[in-house]
């Protein structure tokens, strides 16, 4: 699972609704893999407004990845920034491990890069 996707996911267990706790989900015991991918300028620029930057900073810090603390002005011309973003959100894959909710403690397992986000019946 790529970090761009993780940035779009929150905990959805019944009654787990505190926005500060249910998002972003925290990684636990993860195995990462860097996979080179074609640099997709148009996509990065178009997606940037949809990314929660503060959440991304929390996550990348957790994983030991460096990103600037804020999005630069004239970002469309800032190649260095966009390339760092590309490496972080497109090329970084979480292969195994889990995502934990700080609010309710639910653990979502990731296996072979695919997260399982089915809920048990008492959680819906």
């Amino acid at each position: 699972m790529r970090l761009i996707t993780h940035n779009m996911l929150k905990c959805h267990v019944k009654n787990c609704t505190n926005p500060d706790r249910q998002f972003p989900l925290r990684f636990k015991n993860v195995q990462l893999e860097q996979v080179v991918a074609d640099y997709n300028y148009e996509f990065l620029v178009r997606m940037l407004p949809r990314i929660d930057w503060n959440a991304l900073l929390i996550t990348t810090k957790e994983l030991g990845i460096e990103l600037p603390s804020s999005i630069p002005k004239d970002v469309e011309k800032d190649e260095a920034f966009l390339e760092a973003l590309h490496v972080a959100i497109i090329e970084t894959h979480v292969k195994e491990g889990s995502m934990v909710c700080l609010g309710c403690g639910h653990e979502y397992k990731i296996t072979k890069g695919i997260p399982n986000m089915l809920l048990a019946e008492h959680e819906i």
């Binding site: 790529r2 996707t5 991918a37």
Partner: protein
């Protein structure tokens, strides 16, 4: 003002204009307009037409200034007939009648600078003999070709991984055009199955994501051609792995997406309940909820690796309503929802399709089968979602309600 003739394929008739309209949102230049077209063969710059060759020549001769651009370049002529087969001899004879154009350049069969097309339309006859003379003849210069060759490239029989609900290549490609999938956009399929739409949308440059309540198809532990690690095998096969971003396992009714618009398109073939059981998380009345909490091998059942939460059937009209509400929230303005709606053909009413103030109906194309049909519906988000917005469902029972039961009756 130049005029053009678009020549469509004779398949999926009800889908052709809708696809062309979608393509016109992506390109406004004739040469590029039909480039991605799957139901379009080519587009021709109009030079003349007539019910006889004399009429045709008279019209062509009205604009001799057009011919000057092509006096010395390499060229070729193609003669095509619809409703009749012409012999090579007949074709050559027809080409020779255009000598008045006085082109001086070399004739080149492969990659000429200019290609001219004569197209004869023969009337449909009831008897076995073909009609002798055409009803109409069209003439012009080829300016663009469609992409029908992609149908063969994406043929499901060639895919490394497929399942029994995999959508055929031709329609999967048309859906990518309806969705306006293009570089920079993000497409999502909430019933991803074997990933056909992620494949075709990402082929046209979009990035894509998919989810499904059934992880087995995604992971490759169910479906045909096991042992290839699931649908990622197809994305690698077609070189779109960099743009198919992720797949995940969850119930779209209980989805973990963060709130607010995030997708440029939602493209999906929801389960109708006929082959793939349409299901959602939940427990039927009268069954035992304690099973989830039972301790098995020291761990509560619901925490075990192989635990499948109980499911209940997902009725079709509920599914469609939920899908529209999801799209109204999660699409960006200008984004598109493209989905299949199964229906009982002679009971269908256009009012069956629910309406939402944030979504506008853009296209509705029918693919008929024997007793039922399905419709490819395209909707576009035209305004931000407001709390006052309410989905309006038809007062009558739509033809797709309880579709599974109607199909088998």
């Amino acid at each position: 003002m130049p005029q053009f003739i678009v020549y469509f394929a004779q398949y999926h008739e009800d889908f052709r204009l809708a696809e062309l309209e979608a393509l016109s949102k992506l390109e406004n230049e004739a040469t590029k307009l039909v480039r991605r077209g799957i139901l379009v063969r080519n587009i021709i710059e109009y030079w003349g037409h007539g019910s006889t060759y004399e009429e045709l020549f008279a019209r062509v001769k009205e604009n001799p200034e057009k011919w000057a651009d092509f006096k010395t370049c390499s060229f070729k002529f193609n003669v095509e007939a619809f409703g009749r087969t012409l012999t090579q001899k007949e074709k050559v004879a027809i080409i020779n009648t255009f000598k008045f154009l006085a082109f001086e350049g070399p004739i080149r069969m492969k990659n000429p600078d200019a290609e001219f097309i004569v197209r004869e339309e023969y009337p449909v006859t009831n008897n076995a003999l073909q009609a002798e003379t055409p009803a109409m003849i069209w003439f012009g210069r080829l300016v663009g070709q469609g992409s029908r060759e992609l149908i063969d490239k994406f043929d499901v029989k060639k895919r490394r991984y497929l399942g029994n609900t995999t959508m055929d290549a031709e329609l999967s490609l048309v859906m990518a055009n309806q969705a306006l999938a293009r570089p920079g956009t993000l497409v999502y399929d909430p019933f991803v199955g074997t990933g056909s739409f992620l494949l075709t949308c990402s082929h046209f440059g979009a990035c894509s994501m998919g989810s499904d309540i059934d992880g087995r198809q995604i992971r490759g532990t169910a479906g045909f051609r096991l042992g290839v690690d699931g649908i990622s095998a197809n994305f690698e096969q077609y070189g779109v792995g960099d743009r198919v971003l992720d797949t995940a396992v969850f119930d779209i009714c209980r989805n973990p997406w963060r709130s607010g618009p995030m997708f440029d398109a939602i493209v999906t073939d929801p389960p109708y309940g006929v082959r793939a059981g349409a299901k959602r998380l939940g427990r039927k009345d009268g069954t035992n909820p304690d099973i989830s909490f039972k301790i098995v091998e020291g761990v509560e059942n619901y925490k075990r690796e192989d635990y499948y939460p109980p499911t209940i059937p997902y009725e079709m009209s509920d599914l469609v309503s939920d899908l529209l509400e999801f799209a109204a929230e999660k699409l960006v303005v200008g984004g598109r929802l493209v989905y299949w709606l199964p229906t009982v053909a002679d009971e269908y009413d256009p009012k069956d399709i629910p309406e939402h103030p944030a979504l506008k109906l853009v296209a509705n194309s029918e693919q008929p089968f024997r007793s039922w049909s399905r419709r490819l519906i395209t909707m576009e988000k035209i305004a931000p979602l407001e709390s006052s917005h309410k989905l309006s469902t038809p007062e009558h029972n739509p033809a797709h309600k309880n579709f599974r039961d109607r199909y088998f009756s």
